[in-house]
Symmetry: C2
Subunit: 353 residues, 2 copies
């Protein structure tokens, strides 16, 4: 078995952690008897933008659209290119054009990771955030009027479609059904955001009818973020709109110790297009170039990629290797109180495979 | 000095905590030599809605619009009236029609309150959330199309005006200037929400020029929520849009132990209209009628009201009384590990004045 993977390191620490992700992937491939054909791309980076005036070449869809998966680092360097330009010219374009309507993000407190919440141990925090990834608050409809005057204003539509909501809810309910707790929590804000959010609630209620075996509840996003801190053990599968999912999948990993090790899968469940696997953290210009970034988010996203490709055992062995390395203080990177740098941590995980 | 205050308990535990707030206000008025003329209103409640088919009488603006302040409990009882109907028929209407464009919410870890964050002590968490309170994501523009079909979709505009943003930023920068740290953090999401949020950033940058003595930074809302958990000591004044402010002002108090004691002021700084003072918690139908709700959020909001009315010393003495009662385990309500119920806790604080 050979998988064709497009490797897109992007900006900042993306360039440092992606090679470690690849190191681990190649090691696990050897062990589990499959091959990876890796094609590296330098676009989807602000440096590419500075040279070419755009984030990606015109034919980007042909260049990476036929791969089995895309292994992505991070993009964004606001001092070079405004964030909304760089992101909408690459990552957000992948999600939209490759119809990756599910953004899946595990939140798990692992042994050895210092938890900022009092009295929580591994096992207490273990849930999945399922984020709608193509519409909602991240829309491209809107504009500015009376620019430069006192009357200036901007508007931007939040757009939610029945098709768009239902398909991600279905994914989330199916996922909940496969987990032991069979519990789904929906993030809403229907008390304040009076048109889109009541509609979201409606669709959740309708979908829930098809899953009588899944217990479900909903929280307004404000109190939901509070409950992530106060009761992280309440959650199993949490589903939210594009923005709410974005927030919850940074907050969740922070409650579980650090966003430095969190991973994400941008999934096109129909497999019409390749899915994108990336760490939750960004390009972190402030620490880029120093070789100190924690590579575990990237490596974990490699495990999610293998899972998606059907190599569940190989994926599990990456997670085990991550847990083994995290359990050993000296092997951790400095952000987690250890001594290793990016490369040494990557090597330790590869060695633990 | 006599202040005319409209008292609006609303729904659920609002009816239980407001009398305790009033108890403390009357006590402190006696001590500090001013008088309160209290007018009680039963509207802005779901029971009123069930009787009258609307949340408030037609002449609500005349009935409570000429008071010096509105002392508000909580509204909402989703089993009786859908949240977006009850909220947009009362609380959100006050904010909009009385032009209360600042929602001010202190986040403070108090002695005696168990903090969910490892190693944080009183003094470590002490900041203010300034929330835009009239526009943004809480808009009334949008609708539904193709209802009941597969093509169904909803849209809702986020609306941000220069006037609307600038006035709340000005309030936030002025507040930051008066605090020892002189530090302002802006909540944004300009990397993903590509029209309104870059505009918000623009206005922050423009306003910051007038406050060279205030150090400022910005975070995207996702990582900002993570930083509330990981680095709550980083913050002094945090300013955000209607939705982001809403989220941060539930999450902040949760990081400081509980939203049960958090207070909010909905302020019309020009004093053309009365301001509304309310606890951050809602009507909590699940515990309503049991007399166990923590009244401190309501009482603290009374302190914010007195501050607004110019009775700074009286306000300070309420806060001191709250701190004294919280420091004594047995005087705390059960949600904070103590023994008191709503009334006993209110009486203890009144006695401590
Ligand atoms: C009840 C709800 C509409 C309200 C809001 O979102 O503004 C509440 O959460 C608040 O923070 O005052
Ligand atoms: C970089 C940004 C646009 C992106 C998002 O908001 O989707 C990131 O925060 C993420 O979660 O993948």
């Amino acid at each position: 078995r050979t998988y064709r993977v497009a490797v897109v390191p992007g900006d900042g620490i993306g360039k440092e952690v992606v090679p470690e992700g690849v190191r681990v992937l190649e090691q696990v491939a050897k062990r589990h008897g499959f091959a990876l054909q890796l094609d590296w791309f330098d676009f989807s980076s602000c440096d590419y933008y500075l040279k070419h005036g755009r984030m990606m070449p015109e034919d980007w869809k042909e260049r990476i659209g036929r791969h089995d998966a895309i292994f992505f680092g991070a993009v964004g360097w606001p001092e070079k290119v405004p964030d909304h330009v760089s992101l909408w010219g690459s990552l957000l374009l992948f999600r939209r054009e490759f119809d990756q309507y599910v953004n899946l993000r595990p939140v798990k407190l692992l042994p050895g990771v210092p938890c900022p919440l009092v009295g929580r141990k591994p096992g207490d925090i273990d849930f999945m955030v399922v984020r709608e990834n193509t519409e909602g608050e991240y829309s491209s409809v809107g504009g500015r009027m009376f620019a430069g005057t006192e009357r200036e204003f901007v508007v931007q539509e939040t757009v939610m479609t029945r098709v768009g909501i239902d398909r991600v809810l279905k994914y989330a309910f199916e996922l909940a059904r496969r987990r032991p707790k069979r519990h789904l929590t929906s993030a809403t804000k229907s008390n304040g955001i009076s048109i889109t959010m009541p509609y979201w609630d409606e669709r959740v209620e309708a979908m829930a009818k098809a899953y009588p075996d899944v217990r479900w509840d909903k929280f307004h996003i404000d109190i939901l973020t509070a409950n992530f801190v106060l009761h992280p053990d309440w959650f199993d599968v949490v589903v939210g709109s594009n923005l709410f999912g974005d927030i919850l999948s940074d907050l969740g990993p922070a409650c579980a110790g650090t966003i430095g090790i969190a991973a994400a899968a941008n999934i096109n469940p129909e497999r019409t297009y390749p899915s994108v696997f990336e760490p939750v953290h960004g390009s972190a210009p402030d620490i880029a170039g120093q070789g100190i970034a924690n590579p575990i988010g990237q490596i974990w996203s490699g495990a999610m990629m293998l899972d998606h490709l059907g190599e569940a055992e190989a994926a599990a062995s990456i997670l085990q290797a991550i847990e083994r390395v995290l359990a050993e203080k000296t092997l951790r990177t400095r952000d987690l109180g250890g001594n290793t740098d990016t490369v040494a941590c990557g090597k330790a995980i590869a060695a633990a495979i």
